[in-house]
Amino acid sequence: MMGTRAILFEAPGAFTMEQQQRIWALIEHAEKRPDIQELVPGVTNLLLIFTHAPEDPEQITDWLHNAWESLPPRQITGRLFEVNVRYGGSLGEDLAAVSAHTGLPPEEVIRLHHEGEYTVCAVGSAPGFGYLHGLNPRIATPRKSVPSLNMPAGTVTIGGMQAGISALTGPNGWNSIGYTDICLFDPYRSSPSLFALGDRIRFCPESIEL
């Protein structure tokens, strides 16, 4: 339980696409419950917020465990986005740190980053921010101990095993390696968030500045 009105379901095991697809299956299943106010997917977890505090949370946790064991992973064929990136330079200033951490030259970090195909696992944290699966483990780099105070929206980032594009300008602890000028969130669009669960992202180098 998280307080009296929310339950966080956390999947056991590693951060794999299959575990994430089982979380997606759980979302679809939980949407049918009449007592749900919001379903918030995270990285291999799902927060269920109820309209009223459930009297018997154990009944719900049993229901969740049963659903988790019985539901097949849910495939979502999302849209494919090709995102142009200006790698390096002042808007990708942590490229050197990623290079130092991984022991790979910056050119190799960029190659491994743009060769991958990424999947939007969850949208959250800030409006429109997508948690991306698919980072090559060779360029995984821990979050910075001292966050950047004012990282611009559109910064292409690495945070541990997760990849992302910052959605808002502000403090950010992930490593910046480049920049793109797509708009991830507009509250006045019919679908405010550009990315949805299951969308696939490819990064294309527009320029490289080392």
Partner: protein, 334 residues
């Protein structure tokens, strides 16, 4: 209409929040003290979703450009309408041109200027609340500024002279020494991952609210808490009231403007029924967490619900008798 004559930063338009968009990364926003807004809206006969002005900095001065019924809830402070003192937690009707001044609170931190019909700003993603990080909702997604004009509904009748007993006086106040704010909390998912001494200290120690506390969250100071071993969590959805412990060991209580996801270990969650007390606790105040079960957490809502039911009944009677005395109905026609 209302014109803002004087304001410091941090004051915004808020309503009861924007549920339903956390899966797009959009947090709830909304008033920090939802009980105070609910009381204001009941006093004025408003729909529960009506929006208000939330004040965090003072003094705040506005001019009513049309006849407006209003109530200020959340705090105790000196209020003047032109030069006449008016009461907090009470309904008054201002004539066009009258100036309302809200002084520095004597008790409480956040004031709610509620007006009949609510503050009319465009609804964005189902709410009028200001989403500061996203830059939308409320007044263009920003803090209020002097010169801002806010649309309101003209008063339907000249209501005044009734109010609510502030909830802090009615609802069981648990604090023993009268200074420490007690907050009931349910242990969180990572509770057992803290050392036994830290678990004990979490409940026993008074935590001070630091100046780095705002609508996003309250950062607390005290002897740091330690984990049995370092853990790296995957990002998970959070709700207001969750108490997280960053690596430095001093807890943060996430609140209305928090991100929708976090990654720090979770030691506990403050129950919803006590969040209004926290949002009225000022910087420097000492708070203590009181361990509470799921059942107690649910039961804690009951006294608040009865208080609100009584208030609804009283207000309905009062408004009916006021209107028959004035020879007006709720639409303000004879």
């Amino acid at each position: 209409m209302i014109t803002i004559l004087e304001t410091a930063p941090l004051n915004t338009i808020q309503d009861q929040g924007r549920p339903g968009y956390r899966n797009l990364g959009v947090g709830s926003s909304g008033v920090m003290d939802s009980l105070a807004l609910e009381i204001g809206n009941i006093l004025l006969g408003n729909a529960p979703e009506a929006a208000c002005i939330e004040l965090q900095t003072y003094p705040f001065v506005i001019r009513f450009d049309t006849p407006t019924s209003f109530a200020i809830t959340g705090i105790e402070a000196t209020l003047t309408l032109d030069d006449r003192p008016v009461l907090t937690w009470s309904v008054e009707t201002a004539a066009p041109g009258q100036v309302l001044r809200v002084g520095i609170p004597k008790t409480g931190a956040r004031a709610y200027i509620c007006v009949e019909g609510g503050i009319d700003v465009p609804v964005v993603l189902g709410s009028r609340s200001t989403q500061l990080r996203g830059g939308f909702g409320g007044m263009d997604g920003r803090f209020l500024e002097a010169g801002d004009e806010l649309a309101t509904k003209p008063a339907s009748a000249s209501l005044s002279g009734y109010g609510a007993v502030p909830p802090a006086r009615v609802l069981e106040n648990q604090s023993g020494d009268g200074k420490t704010v007690l907050l009931r909390a349910v242990p969180g998912a990572d509770y057992a991952r803290f050392t036994p001494e830290s678990r004990e200290r979490f409940w026993d120690q008074g935590w001070r609210i630091t100046p780095q506390s705002n609508r996003v969250g309250y950062r607390l100071s005290g002897t740091p808490l330690t984990l049995l071993e370092r853990i790296e969590l995957r990002s998970y959805g959070i709700i207001p009231g969750i108490v997280q412990v960053p690596p430095a060991g001093e807890p943060i209580v996430q609140l209305a403007d928090a991100n929708t996801a976090g990654g720090y270990p979770r030691i506990a969650t403050v129950i919803e029924a006590d969040l209004w007390r926290l949002s009225q606790a000022r910087i420097g105040t000492s708070i203590r967490f009181v361990e509470c079960s799921h059942k107690t957490g649910i039961a804690a809502q009951q006294p608040i619900d009865s208080y609100l039911d009584d208030l609804r009944l009283m207000v309905a009677h009062y408004r009916a008798s006021c209107q028959s005395r004035n020879g007006t109905n709720s639409r303000g026609t004879a």
